[in-house]
């Protein structure tokens, strides 16, 4: 596996681990009703999904770009 693949893979695994940890910790402490009467778990899900986009942005803009510049 090339270095760029390893870096991307490592970042994704870190993100997955952090997401699972965050989800497990936060589901028990969030309020049952928030904005529009929806529970915390709905907003947690939305935050998690939005963070996937941020993850891809980091991989593309940081790891891939750095690799291309080094080449």
């Amino acid at each position: 596996m090339s270095l760029v693949v390893r870096k991307s893979f490592l970042l994704i695994m870190l993100w997955v681990a952090a997401t699972l940890l965050f989800a497990v910790i936060s589901i028990t402490i969030g309020p049952p009703q928030m904005f529009l009467g929806l529970p915390w778990i709905v907003y947690l899900s939305i935050i998690t999904q939005a963070s996937i986009l941020a993850l891809f942005l980091v991989i593309r803009k940081v790891i891939w770009k750095t690799e291309e510049e080094e080449r």
Binding site: M1, S2, V4, V5, S8, F9, I12, V16, T19, L20, A23, V24, I27, T28, G30, P32, Q33, L36, G37, L38, P39, I41, V42, L44, S45, I46, T48, Q49, A50, I52, L53, F56, I59, W64, E67, E68, R71
Partner: protein, 499 residues
């Protein structure tokens, strides 16, 4: 009978056939064109076909039913889990697309066969894909029959309903293959989005708005707003299990796997990868909301009865035309999945079986004609399954599909990433994993295993670990494929810098 709603349904079916015919006019008479649309699907169509294909009848009816019973926690389970598929797009999708294009692959088993130069592995993968996909087509036909019966207040029987839905799918698929499939998926995806928004909007409005509807349910059933949810179902173990399960099994659905081949460019795959979490974030919340709110109007539904909560709520609170549209969106969900499943099975049986037997006698015209005939035969078989007592057997297979496909995930990752993996390792991984799962399933059905024998996790998690260990151990002790076979595969992946 609700004449307006039925009119909307008939209009939808006519539109689908028309789009299917348009796909036929635009397609050429080659296997590559018929089965994978000539690899010319751009970002927008690719995104919609992935979404529409993955969201089945279960998305429209099953989600609401589960949310009715388990509450908002179900949104977390399904939405986060399915959006994790974006990661598998990243890890697997781009590589599958590259080798697909480089080696002119059409079916998923072809990738494994070319990677290792192994016909035995091709056969094992083919059998596993067929076993876990065929029952699913039957469940879509069953869903269509039930939905049409509901829409017409029983004036169209379940059997006739299932036959109509299967017939329409078969016609447009036989006409234009993948291009018709993708174009109808685009329309069906938009319908699902509008249908979901309209359904949730009308129901929320009738219940006094989002805040009031949620407050009313919270007074009745506060457990639906936190975990472990109704019936204590969504434990931490179950939640984590599903998050991992969706990530592993979704890309292994052969009809989704094959969609990586159809992309026009890598940019199309990247766009789909980024857009997928966004659409699941919105789309999955809609049936969940309606399902949870169903506790206000229809309390006390149990078992399968809860699966009808979405049409029941929309019928009660929305105008007739909106009810018709939402039901048509439900048909769109199940048809967009069934057509893709029929097509991928047809492509595998044509390319991986018939063409292998014919060898040089396999002309493009012959392959397309065979593909069309196989679509017809598979549609009739799935309809027969849906209408007969075999349903219980296939229901069991359907229940095992997700885990069964997740077990194949390590073999796919090894094929695409690990040059030292071997065909024997992949075969052993798949066979040992599936056989172990069959034993666990049988013991579980007989009550010989305690319900928490996996410490509260789904069996898929230890089984994927087992499949991975077997793959590594057997690959270490068996002979690697020839270097030129490995190189001819990885050259298509590695010629680009971004892995």
């Amino acid at each position: 009978m609700n004449a307006v709603a039925l009119g909307v349904f008939v209009f939808y079916m006519a539109l689908v056939l028309l789009i299917g015919y348009y796909g036929y006019r635009r397609s050429r008479k080659t296997a590559e064109d018929f089965f994978i649309a000539g690899r010319r699907i751009g970002p927008i169509l690719l995104f919609f076909t992935f979404a529409a294909t993955n969201f089945s009848a279960f998305f429209f009816f099953g989600f609401a039913g589960a949310a009715y019973k388990y509450g908002f926690g179900y949104y977390g389970v399904m939405a986060i889990g399915t959006s994790l598929m974006a990661i598998t797009f990243f890890l697997l999708g781009r590589r599958i697309w590259r080798v697909g294009k480089g080696l002119n692959l059409i079916t998923p088993p072809e990738l494994f066969a070319k990677r290792y130069g192994s016909e035995n592995l091709r056969l094992v993968v083919l059998v596993a894909f067929v076993v876990f996909t065929l029952p699913y087509i039957a469940t879509q036909a069953i869903g269509g029959g039930i939905a049409l019966q509901f829409l017409t207040d029983g004036e169209i029987s379940f059997e006739i309903g299932a036959a109509i839905v299967t017939l329409v799918i078969t016609v447009y698929l036989m006409l234009g293959g993948m291009l018709s499939d993708v174009l109808t998926d685009f329309m069906q995806g938009i319908m699902m989005l509008i249908g979901g928004l309209a359904g949730a909007g009308f129901v929320a409005s009738a219940l006094g708005g989002f805040q009031q509807a949620n407050d009313a349910v919270y007074l009745l059933k506060p457990e639906l707003f936190s975990l472990p949810g109704g019936q204590g179902y969504i434990t931490i173990q179950i939640w984590i299990s599903y998050l991992i399960l969706w990530t592993f099994c979704d890309p292994m659905f052969p009809h989704l796997f094959q969609r990586f081949y159809i992309a026009k460019s890598e940019r199309a795959i990247r766009f789909t990868m980024v857009a997928y979490p966004v659409i699941t974030m919105i789309l999955f919340l809609l049936p969940v909301l309606i399902g949870v709110w169903g506790n206000i109007d229809f309390p006390g539904l149990a078992g399968k009865a809860a699966d009808n909560i979405l049409p029941m709520m929309v019928q009660k609170h929305a105008p007739e035309w909106a009810f018709g549209f939402v039901m048509a969106a439900g048909f769109a969900a199940l048809m967009s999945t069934a057509d893709s499943q029929l097509l991928v099975l047809s492509s595998m049986l044509t390319k991986d079986v018939c063409s292998r037997i014919w060898k040089r006698r396999a002309t493009p015209e012959k392959e397309v004609m065979t593909g069309r005939l196989i679509i017809l035969v598979l549609a009739l078989v799935s309809l027969a399954i849906a209408l007969t007592s075999f349903v219980s057997i296939f229901d069991m297979l359907t229940k095992t599909t997700f885990t069964g496909l997740a077990i194949m995930f390590p073999a796919a990752v090894a094929a695409l990433y690990w040059k030292n993996s071997t065909a024997a390792g992949c075969i052993a991984s798949i066979v040992v994993g599936e056989v172990t799962y069959a034993v666990i399933f049988a013991l579980n059905s007989l009550g010989a295993l305690s319900s928490d024998f996996c410490f509260g996790f789904l069996p898929a998690i230890p089984l994927v670990v087992l499949a991975t260990v077997v793959l590594i151990v057997v690959s270490r002790v068996t002979r690697r494929p020839e270097k030129k076979i490995v190189d001819s595969f990885f050259v298509h992946i590695e010629k680009r810098g971004t892995g």
